[in-house]
């Protein structure tokens, strides 16, 4: 419940909110980047430094850029629209989201007794070194590593194919 935590939380949540509510899509992407940053800082707060930097590298450095690119590439349709940015049935979605939140919150709050609070954290902060992570990756998590590698390859090829296919058609 430290002060830092609350500021970080505020940044993240505000960024998220902005990301889903702003009218201009590029603004949404940039807000998302702010949310990513907040999240990364929260990872650091949780002593998960590797995760935090990985977050910054991958999400902010790659995903967000990608999103911006995609938004810019598909911009043509947006200029002419006068309709709302929200779907016609936005209320249903909101309700469902609220329901999900309710469930999750209830779950969290009601099992909170089992989980010790931030203030009275029992254990000391684990000192995780990159060497340990590397060992873990090559040792215990080698299978997931390889599979994820495969996945990334497939994703890459797939994305290229999907994006390329249209170009092959005659004009």
């Amino acid at each position: 419940m430290s002060f830092v935590f609350w500021i970080l939380a505020a940044i993240t949540v505000a960024g998220g909110l902005a990301a889903v509510t702003l009218k201009n899509t590029v603004h949404c992407a940039l807000a998302l980047t702010a949310a990513f940053a907040g999240l990364a800082l929260m990872f650091l707060e949780l002593d998960a430094q590797f995760a935090g930097f990985a977050q910054i590298l991958v999400y902010i450095g790659a995903v967000a850029i990608l999103l911006v690119f995609a938004i810019l590439l598909t911009r043509g349709a947006e200029e002419k629209t006068e309709k709302s940015v929200f779907s016609r049935t936005w209320f249903t979605g909101l309700v469902i989201a609220a329901a999900v939140f309710a469930v999750l919150a209830w779950a969290v709050l009601h099992s909170g007794a089992a989980l010790p609070d931030h203030a009275g954290l029992p254990g000391p902060a684990p000192q995780v070194t990159v060497a340990q992570i590397g060992n873990a990756l090559m040792g215990r998590y080698v299978l997931p590593l390889e599979i994820v590698a495969l996945l990334l390859t497939a994703a890459m090829i797939g994305a290229v194919l999907v994006a390329m296919h249209e170009k092959g058609e005659p004009k």
């Binding site: 899509t25 349709a77 779907s87 996945l151």
Partner: protein, 99 residues
């Protein structure tokens, strides 16, 4: 616990965005938010869980980040393909799969 709450809030916000916005890319943004919320959840549990030295939670989160990146790439590729075909990314109008 507050981390979990934040994660839950973030997840809800992401879901709301995915369900209510008309632009396909914003749906993807919502999905990224949701994934991130899950990651936060994972790390929080790892930090305050019984065995932080096993690195399970963090590794999970790292893998999750990697997968999310791949998925974002593919998804955006699809969106661009659809955009080329339908000239729009408005989800209300893309209903060729209507039953």
């Amino acid at each position: 616990m507050s981390f979990l709450l934040v994660a839950a809030v973030l997840f809800a916000i992401g879901l709301a965005g995915a369900l209510t916005r008309r632009n396909a890319i914003l749906v993807l943004i919502g999905i990224e938010l949701m994934l991130n919320a899950a990651n936060l959840n994972l790390v929080a549990f790892w930090r305050y869980g019984p065995h932080p030295e096993a690195l399970t939670g963090m590794m999970f989160a790292v893998f999750s980040i990697a997968v999310a990146a791949a998925e974002a790439a593919v998804g955006l590729g699809l969106v661009i393909a659809i955009y080329r075909h339908a000239r729009t990314v408005d989800l209300d109008e893309i209903n060729r799969m209507k039953g």
